[in-house]
């Protein structure tokens, strides 16, 4: 079964450093997302991306965050200057269509620890 893959699975970084989390969405999917989950809490929406632009973003997704689809397969999340509170599991997800009726498939996540 096709799956969303993410790298790295775990990254430890110092506060203030830049981090790039990488994702390869399912190949025929057109909609891409990033979610995050702070330990023990619910999954929170960060951003959705379609047709090479952000279609929606949450309050969490401030100027420190950016997303990019640098080529035909990768989808990246960059955090410019990490803060302690950015420590979380970051999930990439994709779907073949937008709208309310479609299944979103999640990757296994990248665990970010900021020290």
């Amino acid at each position: 079964e096709p799956e969303v893959t993410q790298t790295p699975s775990h990254q430890v970084t110092q506060m203030g450093q830049e981090v790039i989390l990488r994702c390869v969405p399912i190949s025929n999917h057109l909609y891409f997302y990033w979610y995050r989950q702070i330990l023990g809490q619910k999954v929170e929406f960060l951003v959705s991306f379609y047709n090479n632009e952000i279609s929606e973003k949450s309050e969490i997704f401030d100027d420190q965050f950016s997303v990019e689809r640098p080529d035909g397969s990768n989808f990246t999340l960059k955090i410019r200057s990490t803060k302690l509170e950015d420590s979380a599991m970051y999930f990439c997800a994709s779907s073949d269509m937008g709208g309310t009726g479609n299944t979103i498939y999640f990757g296994e996540g990248s665990w970010l620890t900021v020290v």
Partner: protein, 109 residues
């Protein structure tokens, strides 16, 4: 913004007992999705409910969508140790999922 409330936060049962988690919204939902997240894992899609009063079953799991489309439930009959995990409901908008807080299910074998 849209919020989805889920209860209980935790549930511990003996293997073989039933389990139910409830999801509520103050606004009418166009649909509700359910996900399971194993410990250390990622959310895995279980099902989507769209119609008012809809009931769907997957083996021992029964999913319901309320008549007013403001609440939903997931019921597991005769739990097994493989059911351990956190169950999330999520309201699907055009561009995003809004997750409930989740119910963490632990099972005593």
């Amino acid at each position: 913004g849209q919020q989805v409330m889920q209860i209980p936060q935790y549930q511990h049962v003996q293997e073989g007992e039933d389990f139910t988690t409830y999801c509520n919204s103050s606004t009418t939902l166009s649909n509700i999705q359910w996900y399971k997240q194993r410990p250390g894992g990622h959310p895995v899609f279980l099902i989507q409910l769209v119609k008012s009063g809809e009931v769907k079953k997957q083996k021992r799991l029964t999913f319901q969508f309320g008549e007013a489309k403001k609440n939903s439930s997931l019921h597991i009959t005769a739990t097994q140790t493989t059911d351990v995990g956190t169950y999330f409901c999520a309201a699907k908008g055009a561009q995003k999922l809004v997750f409930g807080q989740g119910t963490r299910l632990t099972i005593n074998p």
